[in-house]
């Protein structure tokens, strides 16, 4: 989904450039529609593939945009050159016609893509900059899963303030990463050492971290001042698709009148309106729910392990993106700022 968002933004970027160059040209829509059928193939495959590992989706998404954007770029000059009118009518803006102009577009698009990549790199820090506005001393914060965005957000606040974090472990899909985050031991994967793994964990800043099983959320909610959630993606209606278990937590927060804050980069904002929630939910490996030692059970019963939850907008009180805080009802505006409506459906 995030990959799809980035693809959309790149597409929008290309369109912007193309529009600038040939403002009001009738062939624009041709060029756009010509490149469109090709991008979905590039865009959908990685999103399906990478959507399953949510933690890695961010860096991968920025990588994945490369082939996609290159693809569309390569196709772009072709379509333009194939269109007879383009070189001739592209000149009214006063720029150089023909190939030089195409190269110009390509360079600008690449710049734009680089900007997006930069943005992706800075998103967490930008979001974290709002942390001090939202976390105050001696608060009890409840969070869920091992979202780096949330961790950075909390870390930023931890520099200045003392508070308590209650961390639900999100068993069975993300509990190991959560345990690692909580205890500050870097996950012993052979992955490239990211900057996050060098960061001090919250506990090193003197923040008390309480790890609880997911089931204890309701019991503790009456003492929690604020719920801060990470997300997988945010939908245009203000709802979000997040790790399984988030919906119950958000619901419990609502019941206890505890504010529920979702931190998310703008890149997770998706222009999709969820009419069919089930299609947004992926199901994971059921062996995580029932281990191999209970293999006899698997034959007899239907084991389910959903990876994501759809959380309706009314359960969320505030979104914090790298652009600031927003009400869920305002998200559609940000969506329309970032995506062009031609790209909403691939």
């Amino acid at each position: 989904m995030v990959v799809g968002n980035i693809v959309r933004r790149v597409l929008g970027l290309i369109r912007d450039e193309a529009e600038d160059d040939r403002d009001g040209d009738f062939s624009l829509s041709d060029a756009g529609s010509e490149s469109q059928p090709q991008t979905p193939r590039g865009g959908d495959d990685p999103s399906d593939f990478h959507g399953s590992d949510r933690g890695a989706s961010k860096p991968i998404s920025s990588l994945a945009t490369h082939p996609v954007s290159m693809f569309s770029l390569l196709s772009h000059p072709e379509t333009e050159t194939s269109l007879p009118g383009t070189p001739a009518t592209g000149s009214p803006s006063g720029r150089l016609p023909g190939h030089t102009q195409n190269r110009d577009i390509r360079a600008e698009v690449l710049d734009g893509i680089n900007e997006i990549i930069d943005e992706l790199g800075q998103v967490d820090d930008q979001i974290a900059a709002y942390a001090l506005d939202h976390i105050h001393s001696n608060e009890i914060i409840l969070t869920h899963t091992s979202s780096t965005t949330v961790q950075k957000f909390l870390l930023k606040a931890a520099h200045k303030r003392k508070f308590t974090v209650i961390h639900a472990e999100s068993y069975p899909n993300n509990h190991e990463a959560t345990h690692a985050t909580v205890s500050g031991t870097a996950p012993n994967d052979d992955e490239i050492l990211s900057t996050e793994s060098f960061q001090k964990p919250l506990i090193a800043h003197g923040i008390t971290v309480i790890l609880i099983p997911d089931s204890a959320v309701f019991a503790l909610m009456s003492r929690v001042n604020k719920v801060i959630l990470g997300t997988h993606s945010v939908l245009a209606n203000g709802g979000l698709v997040a790790a399984a278990g988030t919906r119950v937590i958000a619901r419990a927060a609502k019941v206890h009148q505890t504010p529920c804050v979702v931190v998310s980069g703008v890149y997770k904002l998706s222009p999709v309106y969820p009419f069919d929630f089930d299609s947004l939910i992926e199901y994971g490996d059921s062996s995580k729910v029932i281990g191999y030692e209970d293999g006899d059970l698997v034959d007899q019963i239907d084991v389910q392990n959903p990876l994501y939850d759809y959380v309706p907008a009314e359960l969320v009180d505030l979104y914090i993106t790298n652009l600031g805080g927003h009400a869920p009802s305002y998200l559609y505006r940000i969506v329309s700022d970032h995506y062009r409506k031609e790209d909403i459906s691939f």
Partner: protein, 543 residues
């Protein structure tokens, strides 16, 4: 840490009756149990009598007469030697702590006296060594564990989650060592079973407790000079104290014990002992039958009527009464699907899933993270109870509240009826506004232990045995855990959580579901709204 002087003074105050000191001088007796078990050289018979012997003769324990010396000479000497050797070894290890620790300990004044006096004086060293035996042998049996155990304790205090400070009682008992000698073996075994969740679930614990008490009563003989009604109650209270150190008593256990005590106290002192005992055993039997066995059948029968063809029944964890209900409904030929929600760390739902699947029901199983999906197509929610509080709250396994809440707050859907199956013996007059007021905190290490990769090997013992190792290793050198935890990588992040500053693990056992989430409580007295709990409770206790 009761000094030997204290109980001896106690016994002086009540010198004559030989058996009566037993309850009075309980701490030394309790501590003697391990010393007898571990050091068989120590003569068993004289020891309990010792305080009594000493008491009249020498109040200042140091002035030791030389009677009863011959038979006890060997054991004190040996004990002392052993103690000295160990002391020397310990001294070598950590001088400073030893120097502070020994005088601080209660036997401090006694030990030097015993040493100076040599093996000549019997009374004081006997008492002293007995104290040593009590105090030190159990600890030294575990060798270097002494400083570490202390460290763990210190750490542990920090590890208590502040909000739940009132819920951290004493640490749960790990062995039968140190249990009072009055505690019946059946109760001893039951205590450990409850601690390890072998006997788990409110009704099961209640029944097991009552059966164990029945055996206690069968084995009981009234000592001379007291009446059964008066002494049996105190005798039982020892058992109860022991059980509650293994695991805090459940509401149903408390109710059952209260009823039993009432029955004991209402026995006429003139009734012969044998007859009184049979009366009590019959009372226990009928209590189990009426309040639990038959009640369960009645509840299962009436709750099963609520299940219709085509229903999707959601349940949480593994309640025995819900299981019975579902099986009853299935036997009645109803066609329905069961969706079981489970959670860490106990995974009680697994057993339920297995039983139901073996019986032929259609079962869907997911963890609490998949709750919102399971509830989506549900038509009814059946929940078991640990207790029902007087303000109508359902007090049950942690996570129940989430299930009930999801059923009630389903987005855009119709509310799903939430039905609680609960015997009236589980009703209590306690009130709870949230899950923090009344709760039980289980060992947080359970959160670390139960990781699927352990169970992959299907060898729980090595896993359990390996568990303390990272702890100790972590204490000596923080870099240690990495090689140890390398084979079981999933364990690594939390294995040494006790040593990680500011990190706390919280393992709650119960939560309180608000009354508005419960539509109906099915009891053996009928189906009630949750607000009827206090009335039924009053009725059932007055009967």
């Amino acid at each position: 840490m009761a000094t030997p002087a204290d109980p001896s003074l106690n016994t002086t105050s009540s010198p004559p009756a030989a058996p009566t000191p037993a309850p009075a001088s309980e701490p030394p007796a309790a501590m003697e149990a391990p010393s007898q078990a571990q050091a068989p050289k120590a003569p068993k018979a004289p020891k309990p009598a010792k305080p009594a012997k000493q008491a009249p003769k020498d109040k200042p324990a140091a002035s030791a007469p030389a009677d009863a010396q011959g038979d006890e000479k060997l054991s004190p000497a040996e004990l002392k030697k052993k103690a000295k050797a160990e002391k020397a070894a310990r001294r070598a290890r950590e001088k400073a702590e030893r120097e502070q620790g020994a005088p601080g300990g209660g036997q401090g004044p006694n030990t030097p006296a015993g040493k100076k006096g040599g093996s000549g004086d019997a009374g004081a060293p006997a008492a002293g060594s007995a104290a040593k035996g009590q105090k030190q042998i159990p600890r030294r049996g575990s060798a270097q564990a002494v400083p570490q155990a202390e460290e763990v304790k210190k750490k542990k205090e920090n590890k208590n989650v502040a909000v739940f400070g009132h819920l951290y009682g004493q640490q749960r008992r790990n062995t039968v060592a140190g249990a009072g000698k009055e505690v019946h073996p059946a109760v001893l075994a039951l205590g450990l079973q409850m601690r390890d969740y072998v006997v788990c679930g409110s009704s099961a614990r209640c029944v097991a407790t009552l059966l164990a008490f029945k055996r206690v009563i069968e084995a009981y003989t009234t000592p001379k000079g007291t009446s059964l009604a008066r002494h049996l109650t105190t005798h039982l209270s020892h058992q109860i104290t022991y059980l509650s150190t293994c695991r805090p008593l459940s509401i149903s256990q408390g109710n059952a014990i209260r009823a039993l005590k009432l029955a004991i106290s209402s026995i006429d002192p003139s009734v012969p002992e044998a007859q009184a005992k049979t009366t009590l055993c019959e009372f226990i039997d009928s209590f189990i039958r009426e309040k639990i066995t038959v009640a369960d059948q009645v509840i299962a029968g009436s709750a099963a009527q609520k299940i219709k063809d085509g229903d999707v029944v959601v349940t949480f964890a593994g309640s025995s009464i819900v299981k019975q209900t579902l099986l009853t409904a299935f036997k009645q030929g109803k066609k329905f699907r069961v969706s079981i929600i489970d959670s860490r760390p106990l995974f009680e739902g697994k057993n339920l899933a297995r039983t139901l699947a073996n019986a032929g029901l259609e079962v869907q199983y997911s963890l609490i993270s998949g709750l919102s999906h399971a509830v989506k197509d549900a038509t009814k929610v059946f929940l078991g109870a640990h207790a029902m509080t007087s303000n109508g709250r359902l007090y049950s396994r942690v996570g129940t509240a989430l299930v009930a809440m999801s059923a009630k707050e389903r987005a855009g859907g119709v509310e799903i009826p939430v039905i609680v199956c609960c015997e009236t013996v589980k009703f209590t007059d306690r009130v709870a506004l949230d899950s923090i007021v009344v709760n039980e905190i289980a060992d947080a290490d359970e959160l670390v232990l139960t990781q699927p990769p352990h169970q992959l090997t299907d060898l729980p013992d090595p896993a359990a045995a390996a568990q303390p190792e990272p702890k100790k290793g972590g204490k000596s050198a923080p870099s240690n855990p990495t090689p140890e935890s390398a084979p079981k990588s999933s364990d690594s992040p939390l294995a040494d959580w006790r040593d990680t500053p500011n990190l706390q693990l919280l393992n709650l056992l119960y939560d309180a579901t608000p009354a508005e989430y419960v539509d109906m409580v099915v009891t053996e007295m009928g189906s009630l709204p949750p607000s009827a709990v206090p009335i039924v409770h009053r009725m059932s206790t007055n009967l």
